[in-house]
Amino acid sequence: MLTCKNITHLVSTVIEHPPTWRQRIAIQIHLWMCASCRHFVQQSQLLQRAVRSIKQRIINGEAEEIPSLPEDARQRIFNHLQHEQKRML
């Protein structure tokens, strides 16, 4: 009989470490009976989906939850690049 803790282990690494068919059946039976583990699976899937979209959000300029380049840092980088670019030309 799988415990809820076992379920979290099996479900969390399902891609890296696929369960055997016996384990799959045991997981399904547990999920039928256990609402908490069903919710755990839904929560995990949502977080995974969100994390996987972060890079695209950054590229699209949507990730406003992450700080943007501060003005002083921008100026420092600009000066450095100008200097290097003159050297390269």
């Binding site: 969390s12 890296e16 609402a35 839904q42 994390v51 300029g61 600009f78 450095h80 030309l89």
Partner: protein, 193 residues
């Protein structure tokens, strides 16, 4: 044919892509100074390598790919530094307390508190608080754990590649990913209302 280099490139790239590169760098390294350094190194490498840019991928993707390589170099350097001061070869859980998420379960392995239903996923993904909390919870993970987790989920690197880069065994990788996923979810559950 790739355009020739113009003196305005650096300024234009910094204007148009500076925020994007800095956010991506911050996601990787967390420290603002290191993130700034990564953006600078990336733009320098882009200037130097612009003749090799074939224009097939979008400029943003090309710049991100350069930054990703710079970030990997940064990780390797920092791991070497850690390795010199630390005899352990396996990834140390650092200050991360394993009992923190084990506390979720009773001794018999049942949930101590019922896991609640979150409601409509699409609604959550549209809320700015969702992304703010996700960002905070990612930053809250110990550095190595976060690096491994981001390599897997954000970069979608293969397990083999991550094990090689981080010099860990496959079993250790599964353990680290489990910890990262449980830690992230737990942080989220504790702060999401």
């Amino acid at each position: 044919m790739p355009p020739t280099i113009s003196p305005h490139f650096a300024a234009t790239w910094l204007d148009e892509h500076g925020d994007m590169l800095y956010r991506y760098a911050l996601l990787q390294v967390r420290d603002p100074h290191q993130a700034e350094e990564l953006v600078q190194e990336t733009l320098l490498a882009a200037l130097e390598g612009y003749a090799r840019y074939d224009g097939k991928s979008a400029l943003r993707s090309w710049l991100i790919a350069i930054l990703k390589h710079k970030a990997m170099d940064h990780f390797r350097r920092s791991h070497r530094e850690v390795a010199m001061t630390n005899d352990e070869h396996e990834v140390a859980p650092e200050q991360y307390d394993e009992t923190e998420f084990d506390e979720s379960f009773t001794a018999e392995g049942h949930w101590r508190q019922p896991v609640s239903h979150w409601g409509e996923p699409q609604k959550m993904l549209e809320a700015s608080q969702f992304w703010q909390l996700l960002e905070q919870c990612l930053q809250h993970l110990p550095t190595k754990l976060r690096q491994i987790y981001l390599l897997r989920e954000v970069e979608e690197e293969s397990s083999e590649k991550i094990c090689q880069e981080m010099a860990i065994s496959a079993t250790n990788l599964w353990t680290q990913l489990y910890r990262a996923r449980m830690g992230l979810r737990r942080c989220f559950v504790n702060h999401w209302n």
